[in-house]
C-alpha cells in the first residue's frame, strides 16, 4: 500500500538552480495537488490537476511549474530556485468524483532548502 510517494525526501539547492519534485500515486486518483507548508502559515496550494494532461494554478503558483503527463504522476518544477521557496512540499491526491467529502491522501513531504 504505497499510496502517495514523493521523491526526493530532502534536497538542498543553491539560488538559481533548477529541480523537479516527483509525486506518484497508485490509487488511480483523478485529482492531484501540490502544497507548500511553512511555519505559521499552514498548507498553501501551489498547483493542481483534475486529470491527465490538465493543470491549474492554486493560491501561490509563482515560481513553479507543473506537468501531469501520466495519470499517476504529478511533477513540480522550480526553474530558478529562490530562498523564499525554502519549504516543505506536499503532494496529495483525491478520487475526484466531485463529492464534497472525499479525503485528500498526502505523501510524506519533500524538505527543500534553498541557500
Amino acid at each position: 500500500n504505497a499510496g502517495v510517494t514523493q521523491t526526493p525526501k530532502f534536497r538542498v539547492l543553491k539560488t538559481g538552480q533548477s529541480m523537479t519534485l516527483l509525486c506518484a500515486q497508485d490509487m488511480n486518483h483523478e485529482y492531484m495537488y501540490w502544497y507548500r507548508q511553512d511555519p505559521g502559515m499552514g498548507l498553501r496550494l501551489i498547483h493542481y490537476s483534475v486529470g491527465e494532461g490538465t493543470t491549474a494554478k492554486g493560491e501561490v503558483p509563482d515560481g513553479y511549474n507543473v506537468s501531469r503527463l501520466k495519470k499517476q504522476n504529478f511533477l513540480l518544477g522550480l526553474e530558478s530556485a529562490a530562498p523564499s521557496q525554502t519549504s516543505v512540499y506536499f503532494c496529495a491526491s483525491t478520487i475526484g468524483t466531485g463529492r464534497l467529502d472525499q479525503p485528500q491522501h498526502f505523501g510524506d513531504g519533500t524538505r527543500l532548502s534553498i541557500l
Partner: protein, 110 residues
C-alpha cells in the same frame, strides 16, 4: 491573513485532560475537514463535516460544524499522549478551492 484562523496555536496539557481547538473564518464553506499531522509525515484525514450544525464523533474526538458553516471545533475528551500532533482544519469553498488553517500543535504529557 489566513482565511481560516485556528486557535490556540499551541496547547500543552496533561494526560486525561479535556481540550477544545477552534477553526474560524468569515467565509462560508461547503465542507470542512480536520487532519492530524505527525512530524515527518503528511496530514491524515480525521473527519469531514458538510452540514451546518453537524456533530461527528470519532471515539474520544468530537467535531462540530457551525450552523452558518463558517467555523468548526474539535473537542478531545481524556487526552492521551498518542493524541499529540498538529491538528489542521481545511475548508472547501468550491470544488478545487481548499484552504488550510495554520494548525494547532497539541502536546499531551504523560
Amino acid at each position: 491573513t489566513q482565511l481560516l484562523e485556528q486557535s490556540p496555536q499551541f496547547l500543552s496539557i496533561q494526560e486525561g485532560e479535556n481540550l477544545t481547538v477552534y477553526c474560524n473564518s468569515s467565509s462560508v464553506f461547503s465542507s470542512l475537514q480536520w487532519y492530524r499531522q505527525e512530524p515527518g509525515e503528511g496530514p491524515v484525514l480525521l473527519v469531514t463535516v458538510v452540514t451546518g450544525g453537524e456533530v461527528k464523533k470519532l471515539k474520544r474526538l468530537t467535531f462540530q460544524f457551525g450552523d452558518a458553516r463558517k467555523d468548526s471545533s474539535l473537542h478531545i475528551t481524556a487526552a492521551q499522549p498518542g493524541d499529540t500532533g498538529l491538528y489542521l482544519c481545511a475548508g472547501v469553498r468550491f470544488r478545487n478551492d481548499m484552504r488550510f488553517g495554520a494548525g494547532t500543535r497539541l502536546t499531551v504529557k504523560p
